[in-house]
């Protein structure tokens, strides 16, 4: 058999990218393991625990809100052709283009004190930057469902809403959930907009910055490691669950 040089070459180049992503992860976790005492102390720091809880709660709330508003929008974008549809689609993608610090400024200018330093402010910042993942995933999920299936369900006696809940939604579910997980992940990693809108209540990602600014690299490392490991494990578990349900 002849050797496949092209694939080999591409794989070699691609490996650099993977190493580049994994290396800092491995280094920071590895270094922290040699500083076990500091890690333990951080894990018992009430400030850190509260910040972690805040991060998890706000990003989960963001995910649920994005599902509630994003799924119907995704369905409309997949099924209907209307005037201004490309405009609507462009609007959905706008948050990806805007620098996150600017998002924070815009939201603050628009809603001012009502969202300043509150849970609402954190969630609004997260929702703005992360909702497109759910909307676009829902749209793609519904696009993959043959409209004929809904038609047949209708002739079998299902109302439009019933056909949506019994046919389209279950079939698009794994795609929607993948999008929701991305939304969750994007939300918990958001810093820029939150920094401007809501320095308090303290979230873990803000706390990392604060420790770095006030006490330096060594102090911010343990909480960074905890945050990374926590979000990564949740991300991986959710992805695994969705993947499993898809193959069922």
């Amino acid at each position: 058999m002849r050797h496949d040089y092209v694939t080999g070459f591409f794989a070699l180049i691609g490996t650099f990218m993977i190493v580049y992503i994994l290396l800092p992860l491995v280094v920071i976790v590895g270094k922290q393991l040699f500083d076990w005492e500091m890690l333990m102390r951080t894990l018992h720091d009430e400030l850190v625990l509260i910040a972690l809880r805040n991060s998890l709660l706000t990003s989960t709330a963001t995910m649920l809100i994005s599902l509630f508003f994003g799924v119907p929008l995704g369905y409309i974008l997949a099924r209907k052709d209307f005037k201004g549809k490309s405009f609507v689609q462009a609007v959905v993608d706008v948050p990806i283009v805007i620098p996150h610090s600017v998002v924070g400024i815009m939201l603050l200018v628009t809603f001012s004190n009502r969202i300043l330093d509150s849970y609402l402010g954190i969630i609004m910042a997260m929702l703005f930057v992360s909702a497109p993942f759910t909307i676009n995933a829902a749209r793609d999920g519904f696009l993959a469902v043959d409209e004929k299936l809904e038609h047949v369900a209708r002739t079998l006696g299902a109302s439009k809403l019933r056909a949506f809940f019994t046919i389209s939604l279950p079939m698009a579910m794994s795609s929607i959930l993948s999008g929701a997980i991305m939304t969750w992940a994007r939300a918990i990693s958001e810093v820029g907009a939150i920094l401007i809108i809501a320095y308090y209540p303290k979230t873990a990602q803000i706390l990392v910055m604060e420790y770095f600014n006030n006490y330096g690299l060594r102090a911010s490392r343990p909480i960074s490691v905890i945050l990374v490991l926590l979000s990564l494990s949740i991300f991986v578990i959710l992805r695994w669950l969705v993947g499993r349900s898809r193959n069922a």
Binding site: K148, V152, R154, T155, L156, G157, R162, P170, M171
Partner: protein, 344 residues
């Protein structure tokens, strides 16, 4: 039971123009047309998936033109069967009954009953993607028939199947139609399905329903050249099969295989041999016939012949016509081989 009146619909590249027809109670009506004729769009209008631009649709006298699909009490089987891939076969079939909130044990009984009739009992626990084309089609039919719909709409139901599965399903469909007493509107491009299953047949070309009538009549007397060309011009004879013989009112036709019961057979005009005297040949069927009409088609001539009340058409060359001195009213002999017969 279903009456479609002056339906018009403009839908992208498909256009329905002034469609009017009727499906009678318990009838099996076939609409025959090439792909792109607008057959699917017509079914979708009747099913309520789209609303016509103008015209009316009546079901048992009630205007259903603007009724949503779920209120029409008819079943629609699209060309790709549209089984719900996330549900098991059992749940696919039970879907309509579950919506009706029928008790679980009653649903169970009904699903098993229809599964038995359609020969798919062993498939009930499977997922649709594991089914063959023929199996999927049976499941789609079961899912529709379990609701005892007033009308069954079938879009090219046998088009994606291999020849063997297809002819088997056509035969079984005949049987189910008799046993389960439903009314069917079936659209297809297949000549064979039309002749095998249709009580009546309509021919649809370019969004227009050109001709509707008894199968023999439509095939025997195409309304215009377009219809004739599309149908491929066959001679269709109806009769009762008794072993290797087909009995009609007046003549006996020898068949290549044994058949039983009411059947239709087809003979292509080019397979019919005309002679002035009885001839000794391998052709098993020979009849005395009277020439009813002579049509000039250029180098070929089309004869319409009568054998005991049955009209058949045959092609001969112009030189044969002159040589044999054939004209209207002349008596000739007509023969064809048993193997040239197509049994539907």
């Amino acid at each position: 039971m279903l009456r479609v009146e002056n339906i018009n619909k403009n839908w992208g590249e498909f256009k329905l123009q002034d469609i009017t027809f009727e499906v009678k109670n318990r009838e099996y009506l076939i609409i025959l047309g090439p792909s792109g004729a607008g057959k699917t769009l017509l079914l979708e209008l009747i099913a309520g998936i789209f609303i016509p631009d103008s015209g009316r649709i009546f079901m048992n006298g009630n205007d259903i033109t603007f009724l949503p699909p779920e209120k029409r009490k008819l079943a629609y089987i699209p060309q790709n069967y549209a089984l719900f891939p996330h549900m098991k076969v059992y749940d696919n079939i039970a879907y309509g009954l579950k919506l009706k909130k029928m008790p679980k044990n009653e649903i169970d009984k009904k699903v098993k009953e229809i599964g038995e009739i359609l020969g798919i009992s062993h498939l009930l626990p499977r997922k649709p993607r594991t089914l063959s084309g023929g199996e999927a089609q049976r499941v789609a039919i079961a899912r529709a028939l379990i609701l005892e719909p007033k009308l069954l709409l079938l879009d090219e139901p046998f088009a994606n199947l291999d020849i063997q599965t297809r002819s088997k399903l056509i035969q079984e469909m005949k049987h189910w139609h008799k046993e389960l007493n439903f009314t069917a509107l079936h659209v297809t491009h297949s000549f064979e399905e039309a002749v095998s299953l249709g009580d009546r047949v309509g021919v649809m070309l370019d969004g227009k329903l050109i001709q509707t009538g008894e199968v023999r009549e439509v095939f025997g007397r195409p309304k215009n050249e377009e219809v004739a060309r599309f149908l491929g011009f066959e001679n269709i004879v109806e009769g009762i099969g008794e072993g290797k013989v087909l009995k009609t009112n007046s003549i006996l036709i020898e068949l290549p295989v044994e058949v039983k019961g009411k059947v239709r057979i087809g003979i292509r005009p080019e397979d019919i041999i005309i002679s002035n005297e009885p001839i000794k040949s391998s052709a098993r069927n020979e009849f005395k016939a009277k020439v009813l009409a002579v049509e000039d088609l250029g180098s070929l001539v089309r004869l319409t012949l009568d054998i005991g009340g049955i009209e058949l058409r045959a092609f001969i060359t112009r030189s044969s016509l002159l040589e044999m001195e054939i004209n209207e009213e002349k008596e000739v002999y007509l023969s064809f081989k048993a193997t040239a017969i197509h049994i539907f």
